[in-house]
C-alpha cells in the first residue's frame, strides 16, 4: 500500500510522512495570506488537523498538494473572517521626523486600514492577486472557484478599495 492509500486508511505514520513533506509548502502559502509567521504556524497545524480529520474523504488517486492547499486557503479565510487586523506598514517612513514623510506614512496607514475593511473573501483574492501577484488560475484552484469569478472578485475588491479610500479623503492618481 502506498503512502496516500495508508493515509486514506487513517495510518498516523503515513500522515506524519505527508506532514513532513508538505508542511513548508502549506506554511509558505498561508503566511502569504495572513502575513504573520506565528499565525501562519498555528494555521498550518489547523490545516493538517482538518486534513487528518478528513482522511476518509481523500481519494488516494487525487492530488494531495492541491487538496492541502485548498484546505489551507479555507483555514486562512476563516482567520481573515475572525480578525480585521491592519497589515504592517513598511518600516522606512515610520521613524522619520520629516513632515512630508509623516503625511505619506499617514496615507499608507489609511490605505492599510481601507484594505483591512474589505470583506474577507475579497481581501483574500486582493492579497493573492494584487500583493502577491499569484496567477488567477492558481487562486481559483486554491479557493475552489473559476478563474472568471476570481477576476470578478478582484475587480470588486479594487472598486471597494477605491470607494473606501475616497471616503477617507485619499486620492488616487491615475497612470498617465
Amino acid at each position: 500500500m502506498d503512502l496516500l492509500d495508508r493515509f486514506a486508511a487513517g495510518d498516523l505514520e503515513a500522515f506524519e510522512d505527508l506532514f513532513r513533506q508538505h508542511q513548508k509548502h502549506v506554511y509558505s502559502w498561508i503566511v502569504r495570506i495572513v502575513r504573520d509567521s506565528g499565525i501562519a504556524e498555528d494555521l498550518t497545524v489547523e490545516t493538517f488537523w482538518r486534513i487528518y480529520r478528513s482522511h476518509a474523504r481523500f481519494q488516494p488517486a487525487g492530488n494531495f498538494p492541491g487538496w492541502a492547499r485548498r484546505i489551507a486557503t479555507n483555514a486562512a479565510l476563516d482567520h481573515l473572517r475572525a480578525t480585521r487586523r491592519e497589515l504592517e506598514l513598511p518600516a522606512d517612513l515610520s521613524a522619520s521626523g520629516d513632515p512630508d514623510l509623516a503625511v505619506r506614512h499617514e496615507t499608507r496607514r489609511q490605505i492599510s486600514l481601507a484594505f483591512s475593511h474589505l470583506p474577507p473573501k475579497y481581501r483574500l483574492v486582493a492579497i493573492l492577486a494584487l500583493l502577491e501577484e499569484e496567477p488567477y488560475e492558481n487562486i481559483a484552484v486554491a479557493i475552489g472557484i473559476s478563474p472568471a469569478l476570481v477576476k470578478i472578485r478582484v475587480f470588486r475588491a479594487v472598486r471597494m478599495l477605491r470607494k473606501n479610500l475616497k471616503s477617507m479623503g485619499v486620492g488616487i492618481e491615475k497612470d498617465k
Binding site: 506532514f19 513548508k24 506554511y27 498550518t44 500583493l131 479594487v158 477605491r162 491615475k174
Partner: protein
Amino acid sequence: MNHRDENEIRRLLKDSIAPLPDTELHRDLWPSMLRRLDQTSLRVPWWDWVLLGATVAVIAFFPGMIPALLYQL
C-alpha cells in the same frame, strides 16, 4: 474601472503594506501537530455531555426508569 485602476491600486498596496521578509518555515511543526492530536482525542463532544446530563436527570427525577435504562445497556 479597468486594468489601469487595478494596476494603480496594486501599486498603492505594494507601496503601503510591508513586504513579507520571509516565507520559509524555520522549525518543524510536527511536535505542535502531535499536541493538537492529543488534545483533540481527549475532548468529549458536546452532544455526549448533553446525553450524560439527560441520563442523570432521568435517574434523579424518575428513579423507576433505572431498570429500563439498565435494560438498554
